[in-house]
């Protein structure tokens, strides 16, 4: 019998998720033994037409990382959806939008203008920008289109499972492979990680105060933190209470607060709104002036609470940005 086929693909991402697959270390040998990798652009050479020529649903599982920003990424997502039995959103970007989705605070024009004209070090006197079509030496290349909106994978195609994290940890990846290969899969749409808050597996939980009154919020560069005490008790914004567990509390063990990359648990729809609710309710002062003084410690609520989840949030994007269809 032929081995089950597996594909890895990347879209708007940094490469960290690919790194996690490699971080399986010797466990990867066990995986490679059991599956045929039919697509993995970061490590092996494949062409678009190789995928196109495969029969539909012939890939057992595609692990796709990265958010969807360009027409090429969309096209690959649609194609891989068709060729795969299971499409898995791998990592925070495919799952929630991730860091790239913070660009949903800016218009396409603002981003292109900054990157091709205004950013420090840019020399582009003719203000050249990438074009969809152009002529060069008798060839007419075609470039992907840069969309107005950053999307999660499931805002473009149907997704079967989600593996959270920025990046997902090797143990979650391995568990997902084990589940796939043994056929013991949870219901469609599940996030393949525990469904409890990060605090549950954080060593600092025993010092988490039951009653708290924030008098200030400190940011990570503004103080030296006690390595044992709950971050909330130290007046630090920690996304732990609004974030899914499963990472093994690696950040808090490394003396950094949780930034929320695993997204919310299944009971919460909007991670940012939920942590805002929780933190604010526990501010000490009762008068507007006093409250706002404490809140000065959170200068960028969108960037702090939706660091990985803006595309998947209830509003998805800054609401008054232009969207003129394809915008070109």
């Amino acid at each position: 019998m032929s081995k089950p086929k597996v594909a890895f693909y990347w879209c708007a991402s940094c490469g960290g998720c690919e790194e996690t697959v490699v971080d399986l270390a010797e466990d990867i040998l066990g995986v490679v033994e059991k599956v045929d990798i039919v697509l993995w652009p970061v490590a092996m050479d494949f062409k678009y037409k190789d995928i196109e020529s495969m029969p539909d649903r012939s890939i057992v599982a595609t692990l796709l990382n990265g958010a969807i920003r360009t027409s090429e990424q969309e096209e690959m997502a649609v194609l891989l959806r068709r060729k795969s039995q299971y499409l898995i959103a791998y990592g925070a970007c495919a799952h929630l939008g991730g860091i790239p989705a913070l660009a949903n605070q800016f218009s396409r024009e603002q981003i292109l203008k900054f990157n091709y004209e205004d950013c420090p070090g840019m020399v582009n006197e003719r203000k050249t920008r990438p074009q969809l079509h152009f002529e060069e030496n008798g060839c007419s290349p075609h470039l992907p289109e840069f969309r107005n909106v950053v999307r999660t994978l499931d805002q473009v195609v149907d997704v079967d499972f989600y593996i959270p994290g920025c990046p997902p940890t090797p143990n979650l990846t391995k568990a997902a492979f084990d589940a796939l290969l043994s056929g013991k899969l949870p219901p469609k749409g599940s996030v393949l990680a525990p469904d409890s808050a990060l605090c549950d597996e954080c060593d600092r939980k025993k010092t988490k105060p039951s009653d708290i009154a924030f008098l200030e919020f400190k940011r990570p560069h503004q103080a030296l933190f006690d390595p044992e005490k709950c971050f909330l008790a130290q007046g630090v914004v920690c996304m732990g209470p609004a974030t899914r567990s499963g990472c093994g509390a690696v950040c808090t063990s490394g003396n950094m607060p949780c930034t929320g990359c695993f997204g919310p648990t299944s009971r919460v729809r909007d991670q940012g709104a939920k942590i805002l609710s929780s933190l604010c309710a526990n501010i000490g002062p009762r008068d507007e002036e006093g409250i706002n003084k404490v809140l000065e410690g959170i200068p960028d609520p969108v960037g702090t609470f939706y660091r990985y989840g803006l595309a998947k949030s209830l509003l998805r994007r800054k609401v008054n940005l232009p969207t003129s269809g394809n915008g070109h």
Partner: protein, 186 residues
């Protein structure tokens, strides 16, 4: 059924979702009713036990489903039936309005008012004021915005579908899924 966002003459009129606390503001709205005070019919009141129960998710959800404004009514400071609930709402409101501004939602679309059970007149004034302000702002129209934003994806999905149709008949390149299906507020 008629479209609730349309006025009788067919023009747009604001939809304002109002979260009123059981003990003060909802009772005040009742008082306004029995006193035969007339206020604009643009609000849809949802009674909660306390303004402290207003999860910011409710507010974002209301906006994302088509509300043009959200009004929250609670007891005056020191009058909360549960002692602390209105302070919790006030603190959430302070940061939420800043965050909404960062996300491009005008300040007047979210309003917090303390209205005691005796202040039927204030319900009338606040609702009418807010309706006028939002009329001036125009619709927020999030559902329409979502549709507009996703147009670019739907076009390509159709295109790929068509080009792949010869090879395949089971491709299910879907229009973006309705994320509301999984809404749960706890």
């Amino acid at each position: 059924m008629t479209d609730p966002s349309k006025s009788p003459n067919g023009g747009w009129t604001p939809r304002i979702v109002a979260f009123f606390c059981n003990w003060c503001t909802y009772t005040a709205a009742d008082l306004a009713g029995v006193s035969r005070l007339k206020y604009s019919s643009n609000i849809r009141v949802i009674r909660l036990m306390c303004s402290g129960r207003v999860d910011p998710q409710f507010i974002l959800d209301a906006f994302s489903r088509g509300a043009d404004g959200v009004l929250i009514g609670g007891c005056h400071p020191n009058d909360c039936h549960y002692v602390e609930g209105n302070y919790k709402m006030l603190r959430r409101f302070q940061l939420l309005k800043r965050m909404l501004a960062d996300l491009g939602i005008e300040e007047q679309r979210l309003r917090l008012e303390w209205i005691s059970a005796a202040e039927g007149e204030k319900v009338k004034r606040v609702v009418n004021e807010m309706t006028t302000q939002i009329k001036a702002l125009g619709p927020l129209g999030m559902p329409e915005k979502f549709r507009d934003w996703d147009q670019e994806v739907i076009e390509l999905a159709h295109h790929v579908e068509k080009s792949g149709a010869a090879a395949c008949c089971c491709g299910s390149a879907a229009a973006p899924k309705d994320s509301k299906a999984e809404v749960a507020h706890v």
